[in-house]
Each structure stands twice: as C-alpha cells, then as structure tokens.
C-alpha cells in the first residue's frame, strides 16, 4: 500500500474549509429543513403540542392523496401550469419580437410591459377584482364589455369553475409576463446583427429567419423561462389568495402550496404531518418535471 502524501490531505482540508460557510448555510437553511419535512411526513399521528407520534409509515401520504381538497388543488395547479407556462412564454416571445422590431416608442412600451413586475401582487389582485368581481353596485368591467357584445354576464370570482380558472390563469400570465419579456428582449438584443445581415443578403424570408436563426439563438433563454415558469406556477398561492380570498378550499380554487398552508395554519389546520406529506409530493412533482425539462433541453442542444 502506498502512503498518501501528507500535503494532499492538508489541501483537502483547506478545500473543505473554504466550502464551510456555504455548506453551513445551505445545510441549515436548505438541507436540514428538507430532511425535517421528510421526517414529519412519515411520522403518523404527530401531535405538535406534545411533540409525540404513534409510529412511522405512509399513512400521511395516503390521507393526503385521498383528500378531495388535495386532489382539487393538484388539478388546479396542473391546469394552471399547463395553461399559463406555454401561453405566457409564447405571448412574451411575440411581444418581445414586436418590441425588438419597432423603433419608435420602444422604451415607453418596455416600461408599460414592465409595470406588473414592480406592482404589488395584492394591488394587482384588487385591480382584477374591479375588472372581474360582481358587487351590489356593478358587475365588473369585463362583464360590462361582455354585455356590450350581447353576452350574458358571468360571475368570475364566485361563479362557475371555468370562469374562476380563467381569471386565475389570466392573472398569472399577466403577472409573470414582464419578467419573461425582459429576459427575451435582452436575449433578442444579444443576437449578433451580422447573422441577420447575412440572412438578408441570402434572401431569407422573415419567418425562416425567425425559425432558423432567432429561435435557436435564444433557445437557452426560452428553456430557462420554461423551467422557472414551471417551478413558479407549481408554487402558485398568493395569486389565488389575492383573487379568491383565504378560504380557497371553499372556493375550489386551492393550489398545492395553498393546501400545505391550510394544513398548517388554516382554519382547518394544525396538521404538520399532512402538510409535510403534501409538500414532499409537490417537491417530487417539481423535481420530475424539471428533470424532464433539462433532459429535453440537453437533447435539443446536442442536436
């Protein structure tokens, strides 16, 4: 057996020393809570007052998975993700391309599109109330327009499920759009003009320029937006609260994060084990989707 030179061990120690602050912070604030949540999720019959539990098992998971409120929340969250991520990315791409190709008033438009980003979520929620909510005095601005065109008014806040989902998606898209536009316009601006001139000299049609040059060039940014969009939409909660109030289960508009919150602190709350199980399930879902996304983008980049 060869003896390891001692200086190598010292270097190893030094390396760990440099890593220590980051490891400590990540460990305390990221890794430990994750492990703790997992432990909570498998402790059956946990009582937070006495800090006791009956045993270890999967009961919490099976409870959560059979809870109609949770299933409703999962359905709502998935609908929200599937509708808003592609739509918001697509619309943001269209607007960015538009912004990129107009010269006059570009800065004004950029500011206008960026406003939702700097506006408080709840303030935006209030604006949406005015747009959509039926009160004793008015039916809301949108209903006004619907009736203008001869339709019958719809209660978007307390009405049918599809109407509420529509408002939630509309709101989510509107809120996440500015960030996406910001990222995409800078991605578009960073594409070297020579590529476009080269394409122009070769008589490339505009659509082909967009599909064969612009899109591939900014595709890393689009993938970034899709991944962060998925994660963000899965974590949606405050948007729903801003629109439908805190009793989301009653409104049938709860999200997974909302369910976790309700299980912990809500009126029907006080069940950290169920909350932990739901959180772990959400974690598993997000991890799976993100992994699939990354694999897909790697495959695309490797073409």
């Amino acid at each position: 057996m060869k003896q390891k030179p001692i200086y190598r061990n010292i270097n190893h120690l030094k390396g760990w020393l440099y890593l220590l602050p980051a490891l400590l912070f990540l460990g305390v604030f990221l890794v430990y809570p994750l492990i703790d949540v997992f432990i909570y999720s498998v402790e059956e019959g946990y009582n937070s007052a006495s800090q006791t539990y009956f045993g270890i098992g999967t009961y919490n998971y099976s409870y959560v998975l059979h809870d109609p409120y949770f299933l409703q929340a999962v359905k709502n969250t998935f609908l929200l993700v599937i509708i808003t991520v592609p739509l918001s990315t697509g619309i943001a791409l269209l607007i960015s391309v538009g912004l990129h190709s107009v010269k006059p008033l570009r800065e004004l438009f950029q500011t206008v599109y960026f406003l939702p980003y700097v506006t408080n979520t709840l303030a935006v929620g209030l604006v949406f109330m005015i747009l959509f909510k039926k009160t004793a005095y008015s039916d809301g601005f949108v209903n006004l327009i619907i009736r203008w065109f001869g339709g019958s008014s719809v209660d978007f806040i307390d009405g049918p499920y599809w109407a509420k989902m529509f408002v939630l998606c509309f709101y989510t898209i509107w809120v996440v759009m500015p960030f996406k536009i910001l990222i995409l316009t800078s991605a578009l601006a960073s594409v070297n003009q020579d590529y476009y001139q080269a394409a122009q000299v070769d008589g490339t049609p505009r659509l082909r320029i967009f599909l064969r040059i612009t899109l591939p060039m900014i595709s890393p940014m689009i993938f970034y937006l899709v991944i962060t969009g998925f994660i963000g939409a899965f974590k949606a909660y405050s948007d729903a609260v801003a629109l439908f109030g805190t009793n989301l289960n009653a409104a049938g508009m709860n999200t997974i994060v909302g369910y976790v919150y309700d299980m912990l602190y809500g009126d029907s709350g006080g069940y950290p084990s169920y909350a932990a199980a739901a959180a772990i399930l959400l974690f598993a879902i997000v991890l799976t989707i993100t992994t699939i996304n990354l694999l897909a983008s790697d495959k695309k980049a490797g073409l």
Binding site: N192, D194, Y195, Q197, A198, A199, Q200, V201, D202, G203, T204, P205, R208, R212, I213, P216, M217
Partner: protein
C-alpha cells in the same frame, strides 16, 4: 460581372451634440471594376471602405450616386436581389447549424422554380466545399473549427449561390499571421478558379498589395488613388498614399527646391534640372524617399547619423537619424553586401531618383519631375 460605381456618396445625419452636421462616410466615389478582377479597398479605420462595401452589397443605401452590375442599375435593389455573396469579418456562421447546413442555407431560401431538389443542393454544397477544401468538415459545427476553416466555410456559403459579385469584409483580420498568409493565397486561388468579380476591404496594405489586381486607396471617405498595386506604389499621387503603402514606410523629409536642386537640410541631394523635365517651382516641399531609394555611397550627398543596423538576411535595414526627417527615424533597406559602408556613425547615401517623390507642402499633392539619371553627372 463588371461593377461600376458612379459618384457614390453616403452621408449620415449627425447625432447628439453634432445634430445638424452631416457626416460624410463616402464622398463622390467613382470607379469601374472590370469583370473577373480582385479589387482591394484599402485605407485606415474610418476611411469609408466598409461603407463602400455595404453600399455595393445593398445593406446601406447611398445618399446619391448609382451602382451598376454590368448593364443593371442595382442602386435601388435590396441585397437579396443583387446577386452578391458577402463574407463578414467575423464570418457570421450560424453556430447551431453544421457546416453543410450553413452552406445549404442560401439555397434553401429559394422558392418556386429556382429551388433545387435536395440532392442537387447537397451536390452543389459539396462542389463549393471541395473548391474551398473543407469537404471533410461538413458535419462539424462552426465552433469546432479553426479560424481559417471558419473563413473557408463563410466563403463557401457566399459562393454556393453563384453570386455575380463576391464581397469580403476584412477577410483576414481574425486570423493569426501564418494563417493570414495562407488564406490570402487561398482567396486569390478561389477567385481565379471561379472568375467571380471580388471586392475585399482591408486596412493592411501588404494584404491588399499582395493579392489584388487593383487597389483603391481611400482616406476620409475620398478615393485617394486607384491602380495596380505596383503602379500605386511606384507613383503615389499624394503624400497620404505614399505614406500608407510600403513596409517599412516611406521616409518623409522637409525639403526645399532652389535653383532646380532639391535640398534636404543644407544638403543638395538631387538635381531636378534637365531639358526634358517639367519645371519644379522653387519653394518648400515634402520629400518622400522609399527605404530602397538609398544607395550607400562614400561620396553621396546625403548624410545620416546611423543608430542601428538590422540584419534581415538578404537585406539590411539601416536605422538612422536626420534633422530634416518628419519620421522619428530614417529607415533604409540596402543590399547586404554594403554592410561595411553602413557600419559607421555617419552614413552617406546617394538617392535613386525613381524612389524619390516631391509633394506640395500645402496640398500634399505629388509634384512631378523627370528623374535625371545619376550617371548624367548630377551634382558632381
């Protein structure tokens, strides 16, 4: 394809503080480029050579003047209808496409009856790839190629659609010295093989002189001189051209013409008289002397203080000083056999009259004089 530029002018409106003052990038450019020639547009940065190239390509619209490709007036045509191939300084190869896809790109843009079948396109791409010798690299991505290979791919992409005119913007500036030499010969060969009228832009006089059939020297948006490289080198029309061409650069002195004799400092270095010679008016002039215009001569009229001698092998360069010199040092390139004559503190030269140019002190235009052969006696 013959290319004719007629009184081409391009002005840009001033911006910011200079609003209202127009900036002229190219002024009244008139030039005829014969079919099948290789033309070098040469000048320092900001002289308008790239603007001229963009005007020919159609990426920039001229303020006034016309451009003809043969009989066709292409002034108002967009780039894609002019039938040009353009190679960008940074090549502008699409990084996400393979070499073959890059070369195919211009062909795939075509529609209707101009569109070739897929197999014909690939055949054509292979043809140009062979021409520029990159056929083994067809499946690589541009990022996996060396600078020289990328350059060839860019030329192949420009050639694949059989352009009427090929335009190259600083084609060699992104290559290292060795590759530059190789690539410029390559450009020359490709141009000769295809016979396509080619115009390239460069700030490197050596590059332009070595491969061009004709060069156009520009400065400040104005054409200074056109002609074959040798013509322009041997007969610069003004001080700018004389100084811009040649390596080592021409030596410039403050001189004086008195009684048909040229004085540098207090030394009468050259007789300007002779019955055939046009009269050179007396007065102050700039004197340009090419480095090879100095002949070491123990009895020569022109003295310099030797500072160092650089041995280059076949030739030697004498670096010396002269109080009348405009350049900090006087560089003369002489034959190696004169080594003994120049290895002393004060070197005497006689001058080859054909390598001496006089320029008006104010206009910096060439003042012609017929050289008096040295054997005529001259000053001695």
């Amino acid at each position: 394809m013959e290319v004719i530029l007629q009184n081409l002018t391009k002005t840009y409106p001033g911006r910011g503080k200079k609003r209202g003052e127009a900036v002229t990038a190219v002024r009244d450019f008139t030039f005829r480029i014969p079919d099948g020639t290789l033309i070098g547009l040469l000048g320092p940065s900001g002289c308008g050579k790239s603007t001229t190239l963009n005007l020919i390509s159609g990426l920039t619209k001229p303020t006034s003047g016309r451009i003809f490709f043969g009989e066709d007036d292409v002034t108002d045509l967009p780039p894609e209808l002019r039938g040009i191939g353009l190679v960008f300084q940074n090549y502008a190869l699409y990084p996400h496409l393979t070499v073959q896809q890059n070369i195919l790109f211009p062909l795939e843009n075509r529609k209707g009856k101009d569109r070739l079948s897929k197999t014909d396109m690939v055949k054509k791409a292979m043809e140009v790839a062979r021409l520029v010798q990159i056929q083994e690299l067809m499946d690589r991505k541009p990022g996996e190629l060396s600078g020289g290979q990328q350059q060839r791919v860019a030329i192949a992409r420009a050639l694949v659609k059989m352009p009427r005119v090929l335009l190259l913007d600083e084609p060699l500036s992104n290559l290292d010295a060795r590759l530059r030499l190789q690539t410029r010969e390559e450009i020359r060969r490709i141009q000769k093989e295809t016979g396509i009228t080619t115009i390239f832009v460069t700030h490197d006089q050596e590059e332009a002189m070595s491969i061009s059939d004709k060069i156009v020297v520009m400065n400040g948006g104005v054409v200074m001189q056109t002609g074959s490289p040798q013509e322009v080198y041997d007969n610069p029309e003004n001080l700018f051209v004389a100084r811009f061409l040649g390596n080592p650069p021409i030596n410039v002195f403050k001189g004086q013409v008195t009684d048909h004799r040229l004085y540098i400092g207090h030394e009468a270095v050259l007789p300007l008289s002779g019955t055939r010679s046009p009269q050179v008016p007396s007065g102050e002039v700039y004197v340009g002397i090419r480095p090879e215009g100095f002949l070491p001569d123990p009895n020569g009229p022109f003295t310099c203080q030797q500072k160092s001698v650089e041995v280059m092998g076949r030739d030697i360069t004498v670096v010396s000083a002269n109080p009348a010199s405009v350049n900090p040092t006087v560089r003369s390139v002489i034959d190696g056999e004169h080594m003994a004559d120049v290895r002393k503190p004060v070197v005497r030269f006689s001058l080859r009259p054909g390598k001496v140019f006089l320029f008006d002190k104010q206009t910096e235009q060439r003042i012609p004089f017929l050289p008096v052969p040295i054997t005529d006696g001259g000053l001695r």
